[in-house]
């Protein structure tokens, strides 16, 4: 269907110009500056602009290697300390152990120049995988509840939304209390509910429970945000569709599955994308609750970026982390878009 002449041509430009200007100047430009920064050794407090160092920052961030060691003596396998090798042999200078495993009589250690970053990368993806279904599921449930037409639902909406409004500092103080092993209410409640079977868990001090604790707190804090977006989507589904279905004798479950879900398709998709992106950029919760610990178990990519960039003053390295993170996500998005287009192409 052909559009009138003035729907094409320059009109879109005028409509989009202010946004393009704003985004270009205040998002794209600083990002490009950050990109340039990654090729220097610029520090936050320093007498001169950083010197050009080429790919040194990327090398320090991403290099991996491996070390194969034979046992020091026969009998019980004992190996030389990995660091005594990496700190003395030229080929391994700058590397640290990331993970190790046995291969026959030999020990293989995977080395990386920045194992903390690689670990943070893993943590970040694990976090996203855990929090996105939880947060979006809860948000959908809440949105359905407060859209059911019950009286007082506007107050409930505000209640479910209140964590989003609260300052992160206060939220983390409260949750740190809740998660405390001996004094926290969560352990007390778990103990009471299980009649003492569940022993107190050191939520934030145990590497295996620290990330789940952050997941729970993040989902709790963010659910209200997604709930609001899903509500907007729900409001957009015509009531008449539901009325017609009910006249035809459809059950609530059928209504949900055949009217609500398809009507929310775009909104749910949007919520999933946005929650995933926010999850991958997780910073404040980790910074305030655990400081990346214990032993890097909760460190995320952006946490590492801020630690190195701002706290340590190494803004070039921090920018490198941000750029690599951004590149990874962009590649994922592009792959997803390509797959979607191909699917649409195949369907056509």
């Amino acid at each position: 269907m052909s559009a009138p002449a003035d729907r094409r041509g320059w009109t879109p430009l005028w409509f989009g110009a202010p946004a393009v200007l704003g985004l270009g100047l205040f998002v794209v430009l600083p990002f490009v500056m950050a990109l340039i920064l990654t090729f220097t050794d610029q520090r936050l407090v320093s007498p001169a602009p950083g010197a050009f160092v080429g790919l040194r920052n990327y090398d320090r961030l991403l290099s991996v290697s491996a070390l194969v060691q034979n046992p020091v003596r026969d009998g019980v396998p004992v190996y030389a300390r990995v660091r005594s090798v990496t700190r003395t042999k030229r080929a391994y200078l700058g590397y640290r152990p990331l993970a190790g495993f046995g291969l026959g009589r030999r020990r293989v250690t995977i080395l990386a120049k920045d194992p903390a970053f690689l670990k943070a990368l893993g943590n970040t993806f694990a976090f996203a995988v855990m929090v996105v279904p939880l947060q979006c599921g809860v948000a959908l449930g809440l949105a359905l509840l407060v859209n059911a037409g019950l009286r007082g639902q506007t107050v409930f909406r505000a209640v479910y939304f209140s964590p989003v409004v609260m300052s992160m500092v206060i939220v983390s103080v409260v949750w740190a209390f809740l998660f405390d092993r001996d004094l926290g209410l969560i352990n007390q409640a778990l103990g009471a509910l299980s009649c003492g079977l569940i022993k107190p868990i050191d939520w934030l001090g145990n590497p295996s429970t620290a990330m789940p604790a952050i997941v729970i707190m993040s989902a709790w804090q963010g659910a209200g945000f997604q709930m609001l977006i899903l509500l907007a989507g729900l409001q957009g589904i015509s009531r008449e569709l539901y009325d017609a279905a009910r006249i035809d004798g459809a059950s609530p479950w059928q209504c949900f599955w055949h009217i609500t879900v398809p009507g929310l398709r775009h909104t749910i998709g949007f919520v999933l994308v946005v929650t995933t992106i926010a999850a991958l950029g997780l910073f404040t919760q980790v910074d305030v609750m655990t400081g990346g610990g214990p032993r890097g178990a909760t460190a995320t990519v952006m946490f590492e970026a801020v630690q190195h960039g701002v706290r340590e003053g190494n803004i070039a390295y921090g920018a490198t982390i941000s750029v690599v993170y951004f590149a990874l996500i962009t590649i994922l998005i592009l792959i997803q878009q390509l797959m979607q287009r191909r699917r649409v192409g195949e369907a056509a």
Partner: protein
């Protein structure tokens, strides 16, 4: 129509008034912009009255203060220097003095603050780099152990004094007895709840030094090898790890109140808690020196200090302000208002609580005798981050030698990246 006339008349009058005002207000004072960190409302109030007193005491300059949150302080300074809007006088956290000086943001105090004034001040509160003095503090802080007399008596423990502090063995034995007695969740509170690098470095690098190690080899200031990962440091790391492994200290207390609540018997923290503990424990409170782990008691030295920026148009005014601030009377007033430790003997004598028989005298003595400043090097942010990461990992069970090696490598790498900061040194 009338409305228009009214508006025009109003505008004309206000214009005239503004012009007259500008003409009559005497504006012969030079404005000195001052930046300080926010450190609590008491200190704010006292600094404001200090500034008012200075402004009233002379007619050449007027100090105008701005108070910034500590969280973004460094970045605000950098932003201001980029924009050419640096303040004239600025407060600098003592370990950052070397960084700012190296970056060219500060000018030496030489010539603006008399040498004899600086000589009166406790050495730990002078911020020097590469042989020049760039900053001086009006007050300092002191770390101590707090305990209850009744508890020590029950444990048959000796009460340590400044001349005879606890040895490592005594301290360890006491903690283990306290734990065994069953009355304490974690007998020792090390305030590890605060995970900021500034606290960990300030609180625990002195212990490292008491063991015989250091965060950097201060003779060369270019490497931490041997100091941070040598035998002494490894002994420190092992002892530190043992505290948590044996349940003598909690990796993260839920709040700051362990000592007040009686969940901890001994707490290692600074003078800023003294009032709260006095209220809670009354006469039962003991303020004790930290243990001597081998080479003598060491506590952290240097709090926020005052410096003059390079771009200040009136450095003599800034110098006059700093000199004014270092008068014994001004220091004493600040100490009385905030409880911070005064930096000169005269001020201590003039103050309410730090005089020879004052209730907080011990903090002054601790500071004078045992305070050692953190190393004056632009690499300090890297040192602090590396040390804190290593200690937190050690607390959580990482191999001590590995953790210390990693920290050493990080520090050495940073220094090497900057070719030793050209001017190595600054004792």
């Amino acid at each position: 129509m009338r409305a228009q006339y009214h508006t025009v008349a109003l505008l004309l009058c206000s214009g005239l008034l503004a012009a007259c005002h500008a003409a009559f207000v005497p504006n012969d004072r030079a404005d000195l912009i001052l930046w300080k960190n926010q450190a609590g409302l008491d200190e704010e109030a006292e600094t404001t009255s200090l500034i008012n007193r200075f402004n009233a005491s002379q007619a050449k300059w007027r100090v105008v203060a701005q108070s910034l949150p500590q969280g973004g302080y460094d970045q605000s300074v950098v932003a201001a220097s980029l924009a050419g809007r640096m303040p004239c006088v600025l407060a600098v956290d003592s370990p950052m003095v070397a960084s700012y000086a190296w970056a060219g943001h500060l000018r030496p105090l030489d010539g603006y603050v008399p040498a004899r004034t600086l000589a009166r001040v406790s050495p730990a509160t002078i911020g020097a780099f590469a042989g020049k003095v760039y900053a001086v503090g009006q007050f300092d802080a002191a770390l101590a152990l707090y305990a209850r007399r009744s508890v020590l008596a029950r444990m048959h423990a000796r009460i340590p004094t400044l001349d005879r502090p606890w040895t490592q063995a005594e301290f360890q034995a006491l903690l283990e007895r306290l734990k065994a007695s069953g009355g304490y969740r974690y007998p020792l509170d090390l305030e590890t709840r605060d995970d900021k690098a500034s606290w960990w470095t300030y609180a625990f690098s002195p212990m490292l030094e008491s063991f015989g190690g250091d965060v950097i080899d201060r003779r060369t200031m270019t490497s931490a090898e041997g100091a941070l990962n040598g035998a002494a440091a490894q002994r420190f790391g092992a002892w530190f790890q043992g505290l948590f492994a044996k349940g003598l200290a909690d990796r993260q207390e839920p709040d700051d109140n362990a000592f007040v609540d009686g969940r901890a018997a001994i707490v290692y923290t600074g003078d800023w808690w003294a009032d709260a503990y006095r209220t809670s424990a009354g006469n039962d409170l003991l303020i004790l020196p930290p243990p001597d782990f081998g080479t003598g008691v060491v506590i952290g030295g240097g709090s926020w200090q005052w410096a003059i920026s390079t771009s200040c148009a009136h450095p003599d005014g800034a110098g006059a302000f700093i000199t004014f601030m270092l008068q014994d009377r001004q220091i004493a007033d600040m100490s009385d208002a905030t409880g911070d430790v005064p930096v000169t003997e005269g001020a201590a004598a003039a103050s309410r609580d730090f005089g020879p028989h004052g209730k907080s005298r011990i903090f002054y003595d601790l500071m004078r005798r045992f305070a050692r400043p953190r190393p004056a090097t632009p690499a300090f942010p890297a040192i602090a981050t590396a040390f804190t990461t290593a200690m937190r990992d050690i607390m959580d069970g990482k191999d001590v030698h590995d953790a210390l090696d990693d920290a050493t490598d990080d520090i050495d790498g940073t220094i090497a990246d900057h070719h030793g900061y050209a001017t190595a040194g600054g004792r």
